[in-house]
Amino acid sequence: MLKQSGFGYYVRKIARTWKETGTLAHIVHRVTGILLVVYLGVHIYVVTQASLNGEGYESILEMFRDPLFAAGELIMIMGGLVHGLNGIRLTLFDMGIGLKHQKAMFWAFMVIAVAVWFAGLAIVWPVIGGG
């Protein structure tokens, strides 16, 4: 018999049907979830190290101001928003709300994510040295 299961099969097969909204939401949620774990781990480590040695602190803050770094941070914020808002969507389903409108809910929450992201960008723009 020909096996049709396992992690590799999951990745190949799910990549072929990513356009289904519920599947897309799952992929986006999983990828952003993993990115957040990695990012927050590194972030906490770096900030802890920085606050432990007084002299390095300024230089690390300087690194945060680097445009490339700022761009990375902005992408992570978008990832966090998307993950959090889709997480609320999934929790609403568990509460029995919106199951019949899952597709519309995904896109509505993504619109909110983008809107909040731009609002946040407007606030931090002067701080990261854009304006």
Partner: protein, 236 residues
């Protein structure tokens, strides 16, 4: 003309699946099952697939059509609106031959959830009476023909053979929602774990695959809330 690209795998000959194209000139009025039968009679008698009733009742002809699980007998070729139709076996389960997959895991999981009414009262003389209202509660899940389109569409099933999957879980909901069934607590305990309701990631693939339009995702969510409701009310 429609080109049918059919998944072929013969365990004696092949180590990997092959895709073979068959052209059918006139598909007017043909279902995908008709097309497969035409291919078998006119072009290649070695093609294997399951089918029986031709009217979406027996649930044996579910296959993947252009990447989506559907009943071959219930899908008009022209309604797909494509000049190329890819027919593959249901995903997730091992392929025995061509479009025929091994359903042993599916029925194993189905049997494990006690898929029958369990009543603790003595059998009545005629039937167990149920109000029309109470019957309505499980109208949808009672439509299941066990074609496995839902369970095999689920990526969790592809990666974990212990997960009960949407068909078995929907069957549990069907009996939890049945006012005549007396083992609701046992049924909920059976699915209240990481291989039951809590494994679902709410992708809606199962509900979208169901040819009977049963909202299997909702059934799993209903079970989750039933478990939580009972857990909280017991604590108070």
């Amino acid at each position: 003309m429609v080109k049918f690209r059919v998944f072929r795998f013969s365990p004696e000959k092949d180590r990997k699946p092959r895709y073979v194209d068959y052209n059918i000139e006139d598909t007017c009025g043909l279902t995908v099952l008709d097309a497969l039968k035409l291919i078998k009679t006119d072009m290649d008698p070695s093609l294997s697939f399951r089918h029986s009733c031709r009217s979406a009742i027996c649930g044996s002809c579910a296959v993947s059509i252009n990447g989506k699980n559907m009943l071959a007998c219930n899908t008009q070729v022209d309604a797909l609106g494509k000049s190329r139709v890819v027919v593959e076996p249901l995903p997730g389960y091992p392929v025995i031959n061509d479009l025929v997959v091994d359903f042993a895991p599916f029925f194993g999981q189905y049997r494990s959830v006690q898929p029958y009414l369990v009543s603790k009262t003595a059998p009545p003389e005629k039937e167990r009476i149920q109000s029309v209202e109470a019957r309505k509660k499980y109208d949808a899940p009672a439509q299941c023909i066990m074609c496995a389109a839902c369970t095999t569409s689920c990526p969790i099933v592809w990666t974990d053979d212990k997960y009960l999957g949407p068909a078995a879980l929907t069957k549990v909901w069907r009996f939890v929602a049945d006012s005549r069934d007396d083992i609701t607590d046992e049924r909920l305990a059976m699915v209240n774990n990481e291989y039951g309701i809590w494994r679902c990631h709410t992708m809606f693939r199962c509900a979208e695959a169901c040819p009977k339009e049963i909202d299997t995702t909702e059934a799993i969510e209903n079970l989750r809330r039933e478990v939580l409701k009972r857990a909280f009310s017991r604590r108070r």
